[in-house]
Symmetry: C2
Subunit: 196 residues, 2 copies
């Protein structure tokens, strides 16, 4: 087959996939993760059920694809937040704040049991490693600039930050989340050196 034909098949495939995931995201936002069905997804995406099953063998595979895209979106948000700030201290703060807000509003994760199941899987592990590395590097940078303590490995500081910020999911509103970020950052402050 000519290359142009292959490209256009590939483009078409990607479009159907994206439309399916868009439809799934809408349905999850409207009705929650547990009540979405393959028939609803096909209808919302404007494709036949047979076509849908050609792309995704079952509901789990659609949900996985949706979840993977969510995670990618979140990682992109974090990278953007990081790249918009210039000062090391600001970079760490803005990424932690963005992460805490995402943690408080993980769209579609109303059903904690299913959410727990989705939070396994290889793409989640990869994303967690990516996130950990991002925070660790920002912590190392801020420590080098003397803005956070440098007597504890950035690796450990990142583990602390990521766990502390999961508290966001238990908080009632955004000001509380901002206070959580403030407390978490306060934990990283350099120790006051005795005066010479």
């Amino acid at each position: 087959m000519p290359k142009l034909w292959n490209d256009s098949i590939e483009t078409h495939r990607r479009a159907v996939r994206e439309a399916t995931i868009d439809a799934t995201a809408e349905l999850i936002a409207e009705h929650g993760l547990l009540s979405v069905t393959m028939s609803q997804i096909a209808e919302r995406a404007g494709i036949g059920r047979a076509t849908l099953y050609k792309y995704f063998p079952d509901l789990k595979s659609v949900l996985d694809a949706w979840h993977e895209r969510q995670i990618t979106t979140h990682l992109d948000q974090l990278a953007q937040a990081r790249d918009h700030a210039s000062h090391p201290d600001q970079r760490l703060r803005t990424v932690l704040q963005t992460y805490a807000r995402i943690t408080r509003h993980p769209r579609g994760h109303h059903d904690s049991e299913l959410a727990a199941l989705m939070h396994r899987g290889e793409h989640v592990t990869r994303a967690q490693q990516h996130l950990h590395a991002m925070i660790r590097d920002l912590a190392a940078e801020a420590a080098q600039a003397g803005e956070i303590r440098d007597d504890i490995a950035p690796d450990e500081l990142a583990i602390y930050c990521l766990h502390a910020l999961t508290a966001a999911s238990s908080l009632p509103d955004e000001p509380a989340v901002d206070r959580l970020v403030e407390i978490t950052l306060a934990g990283l402050k350099p120790l006051r050196r005795p005066h010479p």
Copy 2:
């Protein structure tokens, strides 16, 4: 039936229950949560399978009883740690440290999937509320003594502490856990007031 007879039946029942849970705890420590069977438990407890099934209808009910006892033991450990310290700052510190160490070594919880399942259920919710209330009260006490910040509700400080300390399960050794407790407490420090 005379009261004495009733008492002795009750004592016997409790002894069989305790022996069963002891046996279960041993088997879990030796082989992990997933490989324990009803036959092994009966054998180790020195009772017949029929007797075991009279007390516990299935494996899940034994594991639940074991887990509930574990939680009670941990809450007792925390209350003891609290009551051994006298100064508000010390009380909060020692309870957080004890909690972090328990979190790092939850005996028997090698199997994360099953652990996730065990961590639902009413007795777990009750224990979490109890734990939250304990940390919240200690935070309130320490805030009143001027040792931690008093501009954020003790409720929120407790949520922060408990989430931050779950990081202990990702840490390699006890010194790292101690550093985590130190960082977490540093997050609570009162803001420095401007000099008059």
